[in-house]
C-alpha cells in the first residue's frame, strides 16, 4: 500500500516539481497551495498518511495549519519544512505534534526517509489502535 502524502506549500513550482519527484519514488502525492486548502483536502482524502508542511506561508501559516490538523486528525504525521531551521520553531512544531522538521532546500532522499519513518510511526499507532479496538471488542464480547 502506497504512502499517501499531502504536500503543502505556497510556492507552486516547488510543489509541482516535488510532487513529480515523490510520485516517481512510489508515493501518492496530493498537493495543496495554502493552509485552508490543505485542511479541505484532508477532509476529502481521509487516507492521508503524512503531511509535508511549509512553515512560512501567507495567511494561515504552517504552525496554525499544524494545530488544525492535529485537532481533527491526530494520527496524521506532519513533517515541517522551514526556510531556516531555528531551534525555536523546531521545538514549537514538535510541541504541537509535528513528526520532524527539515530545512529548505532539502535533500530528496532525506525527505523520503523522514516520510517513511513518519509512515511507520503512523502505522504503528494505527496498529495499536486497531489492537486496542480488537481487545475492546473481544472484551465486550467476552462480557
Amino acid at each position: 500500500m502506497k504512502t499517501v502524502v499531502l504536500l503543502v506549500d505556497d510556492e507552486a513550482p516547488f510543489v509541482e516539481t516535488m510532487t513529480k519527484r515523490l510520485i516517481k519514488r512510489d508515493l501518492t502525492v496530493i498537493s495543496a497551495y495554502s493552509g485552508p486548502e490543505a485542511l479541505t483536502k484532508l477532509d476529502q482524502e481521509s487516507h492521508v498518511d503524512v503531511v509535508i508542511l511549509d512553515v512560512k506561508m501567507p495567511g494561515m501559516d504552517g504552525i496554525d495549519t499544524l494545530k488544525e490538523i492535529k485537532k481533527t486528525l491526530p494520527l496524521v504525521e506532519v513533517i515541517m519544512l522551514t526556510g531556516h531551521a531555528t531551534i525555536e520553531t523546531g521545538i514549537e512544531g514538535m510541541k504541537l505534534g509535528a513528526f520532524d522538521y527539515l530545512m529548505k532546500p532539502c535533500d530528496i532522499d532525506m525527505l523520503l526517509q523522514k516520510v517513511q519513518e513518519a509512515r511507520a510511526k503512523k502505522d504503528k499507532h494505527n496498529e495499536k489502535i486497531a489492537q486496542a479496538r480488537i481487545q475492546e471488542i473481544a472484551l465486550r464480547h467476552g462480557v
Binding site: F14, T17, M18, R21, G83, H84, T86, I87, K104, P105
Partner: protein, 587 residues
C-alpha cells in the same frame, strides 16, 4: 587631534573667567580702600604736622617776644647813666642769666655812633665799634630789633635783640645776645620719624638754625628753593609756590591759609619731600619743616605694601587655582566627550548590525524558496535522466556533472542564507553558567578535522582555575568556531599553529586565539568587525563571522580586541566579565 585646540581654548576661557571674576572685585575693593585710606590718612598726617609746626611757630614767637619783652623792660627801667656802669650791667646780666639760664650771653650798651659804651659778658667786647654792621644800621632806626643769626665779632653764631632809647636827645641801644644753641634746641626739638626736621631760614636763605639732618642736601635744596622766592617782598609770601618755580618737581603749596601754614610737595633728587612753611618774626624768617614722603607716610606705605603682597599672593593662588581647576574640569569634559563619542559609535554600530540583521533575514527567507525550487528542478532532471535510456548520449556525464554542480551551488547558497539568518536571529541566547574550557575543548575537537586537513595544529593552554562565566553556550560556540575558522583561513595552505589560551585577567576571563597566519594590515583593523567586510576570496566568506562575534561578545558585556602584525599572525582576545559571586567565592 583637531579637538585639542578646542579643549585648550575651553581651558583658557575657563581660566580667564575664573581669574577675571575673582580679580575684578578684589582689585576694585583694594583700589577703593587704598584710595580712601590714603586720602584720609594723608589728611590726618598733614593735619598733625600742621599742628606740630604751628605749636613750634607759636613757641618760637613766644620765645622771641619773651626775650624782647625782658630787654625792653630792662631798657625802660634803667637810665642811660645807670646802664653805662659796667658793674650795674654785669649785675643785670647776672639776674637775667639766673632767671633764664644760658639764654642771654651778654649785654651791651651802644651809642648812636655804633660804639659800645658798656659791656657785660664773657667776650671782652668793650669799646667794640658796631657802626658798620648790618644790625646796627637797622636797629638804630627801630625801637626794637631782632637780628638774623650771624657770626659777628666773636666769630660764633648768635643773634641779638636790641631796644632803642633816647637820652639827652641822643639815641642809645641796649643790645642783648641770645645764645644760638638754646634757640637752636628749640627748633631742633621738632623731629618726627627718621627724616622729619625743622629749621629756620631768613630772607637770604641763610640758616638761622642748624638743620638736624643731612644739612648739605637741605642747604642745597633750600638755596634753590629759596632763590625763587622774593623775600624782599613779604606780601608775596602769601602766594602759592608754582610748580615751575622749582623746576624739579611740584610744590602744590597753598598759601599760608587759615593757620598761616603752607603745605607742599617737592621732588628733589628722586625723593619726594613734604614741606610745611610758616612765617616767623614778621615774615623775616621762615620756619620750614621737611620730611621725606616715604617717612611721613611710612604707616601708609607699610599698609600699602602689605596689601600689595596679599594681593600678589592672592592673585598667584587664584591663578594657580584657576589653572588647576580648569585643567581638571577640562579633563573631565574631555573624558565625558570621549565616553559620549564611544557611546555614539557603539549605538551606530549596534544600529547598523540590527538593520543588517533585519535585511539579512528578509533576504534569506526570500532567497531560500527560489533556491529550493531550483534544487528540486535539478533533482527532477536527475530523476528523469535515470529513467531515460541515454546510454548512447555522449553528454550524459556532462548533464550529471552540471546537475550535481547546481545541487552543490544550491547548498552553498543555503549555507550563506543560513549564516545570514544566524546573524539576525538569536541562537538560544539563554545565559547560564558555563565552563569556558569545556566549550573550547568541544570546538577544538569539532574543528580538529578541518585543521588537520589544512595542516594546522591547534594547541590549547587552559587555566583550570578560571571561574564559570555567564554566557550562552551556543553563542560561545559560534564565536569560537568563527575565530578558529578565520584563523585557519588566515594561515592558509602553508600550515601553522593556532594557540588557544584561557586565563583569568582581573575581573575578566580572557580567551586568546592566536594564529601564525598572514596578519591583519593596520588599515583594515577598523573595519574588521563591520558586517560584510571580508578579505577572503569571493565565495569563501560572507564577511559576517567577526561581526556576529562582536555582537555576541558586546551583548554579554565583554569585549573583543585584536593584536596583529602583518606576516607574524593575529591574536584575538575575548574578554568576558567574570560573575561577581564567583569573585567572592574565589576570595
Amino acid at each position: 587631534m583637531e579637538t585639542q585646540p578646542y579643549y585648550r581654548a575651553l581651558m583658557r576661557n575657563m581660566m580667564l573667567i575664573v581669574i577675571l571674576v575673582s580679580f575684578a572685585p578684589l582689585l576694585l575693593i583694594s583700589a577703593l580702600n587704598e584710595y580712601r585710606f590714603e586720602n584720609s590718612y594723608r589728611e590726618k598726617v598733614i593735619a598733625h604736622l600742621m599742628e606740630v609746626v604751628q605749636k613750634h611757630q607759636q613757641g618760637i614767637t613766644m620765645f622771641l617776644n619773651d626775650k624782647l619783652a625782658y630787654v625792653v623792660n630792662l631798657a625802660n627801667s634803667v637810665s642811660y647813666d645807670q646802664i653805662k656802669d659796667e658793674t650795674y650791667l654785669n649785675h643785670k646780666l647776672a639776674i637775667l642769666q639766673k632767671s633764664y639760664g644760658g639764654v642771654f650771653v651778654d649785654l651791651g650798651v651802644v651809642d648812636d655812633q655804633g660804639l659800645q659804651v658798656a659791656y657785660a659778658g664773657a667776650f671782652k667786647l668793650e669799646k667794640a665799634d658796631y657802626g658798620k654792621t648790618e644790625w646796627f644800621k637797622k636797629a638804630i632806626h627801630q625801637n626794637y630789633y631782632i637780628s638774623d643769626v650771624f657770626l659777628g665779632l666773636r666769630r660764633q653764631p648768635h643773634f641779638i635783640i636790641t631796644v632803642k632809647q633816647k637820652h639827652d636827645g641822643k639815641d642809645w641801644i641796649l643790645r642783648a645776645t641770645v645764645d644760638f644753641e638754646v634757640f637752636n634746641a628749640l627748633v631742633e626739638s621738632v623731629h618726627i620719624g627718621q627724616t622729619g626736621s625743622a629749621f629756620i631760614i631768613n630772607k637770604e636763605g641763610e640758616f638761622q638754625t642748624k638743620p638736624r639732618l643731612d644739612p648739605k642736601l637741605s642747604l642745597e635744596f633750600q638755596q634753590k628753593f629759596i632763590s625763587i622766592r622774593d623775600f624782599q617782598d613779604a606780601s608775596k609770601m602769601n602766594k602759592p609756590i608754582e610748580p615751575d618755580d622749582i623746576g624739579m618737581g611740584t610744590i602744590d603749596g597753598k598759601p599760608f591759609g587759615d593757620r598761616g601754614i603752607s603745605v607742599g610737595n617737592v621732588n628733589y633728587a628722586g625723593r619726594d619731600f613734604i614741606y610745611l612753611i610758616t612765617p616767623l618774626k614778621d615774615k623775616e624768617w621762615i620756619l620750614v619743616y621737611q620730611q621725606e614722603d616715604a617717612d611721613a607716610f611710612s604707616d601708609l606705605n607699610q599698609t600699602r605694601n602689605l596689601s600689595i603682597i596679599i594681593l600678589v599672593i592672592g592673585g598667584v593662588s587664584i591663578t594657580v587655582m584657576a589653572f588647576l581647576l580648569s585643567r581638571k574640569m577640562v579633563a573631565h569634559i574631555k573624558k565625558a566627550d570621549q565616553g559620549k563619542e564611544m557611546m555614539n559609535e557603539q549605538v551606530i554600530e549596534a544600529g547598523k548590525l540590527a538593520s543588517v540583521g533585519e535585511l539579512a533575514s528578509g533576504i534569506a527567507h526570500e532567497i531560500n524558496n527560489p533556491i529550493a525550487i531550483m534544487v528540486e528542478e535539478a533533482g527532477w532532471i536527475g530523476d528523469l535522466l535515470d529513467e531515460e535510456d541515454l546510454v548512447q548520449c555522449q553528454n550524459l556525464e556532462e548533464f550529471r556533472r552540471a546537475l550535481s554542480q547546481i545541487k552543490t551551488q544550491g547548498s552553498r547558497c543555503k549555507e550563506i542564507t543560513h549564516k545570514l539568518l544566524s546573524f539576525a536571529r538569536k541562537t538560544d541566547p539563554r545565559v547560564r553558567e558555563v565552563l569556558i574550557n569545556d566549550i573550547i575543548e568541544e570546538i577544538v575537537s569539532i574543528s580538529g578535522q578541518q585543521a588537520k586537513y589544512n595542516n594546522v595544529k591547534i594547541v590549547t593552554h587552559l587555566d583550570p582555575d578560571i571561574p564559570q562565566v555567564g554566557a550562552s553556550p551556543s553563542e560561545m560556540q559560534q564565536v569560537l568556531l568563527n575565530l578558529i575558522n578565520n584563523a585557519i583561513d588566515a594561515i592558509g595552505s602553508g600550515g601553522g599553529n593556532i594557540e588557544i589560551t584561557s586565563r583569568r585577567n582581573g575581573q575578566y576571563v580572557t580567551i586568546d586565539v592566536a594564529d601564525t597566519g598572514q596578519g591583519i594590515p593596520q588599515a583594515m583593523m577598523n573595519r574588521i568587525f563591520d558586517p560584510f567586510f571580508t578579505t577572503k576570496p569571493v565565495g569563501k566568506g560572507t564577511g559576517l563571522g567577526l561581526s556576529i562575534c562582536y555582537g555576541i561578545i558586546k551583548k554579554m558585556g565583554g569585549d573583543i580586541t585584536i593584536n596583529s602584525s602583518v606576516g607574524m599572525g593575529s591574536t584575538f582576545h575575548i574578554h568576558l566579565p567574570a560573575p561577581k559571586s564567583e569573585n567572592q567565592n574565589q576570595q
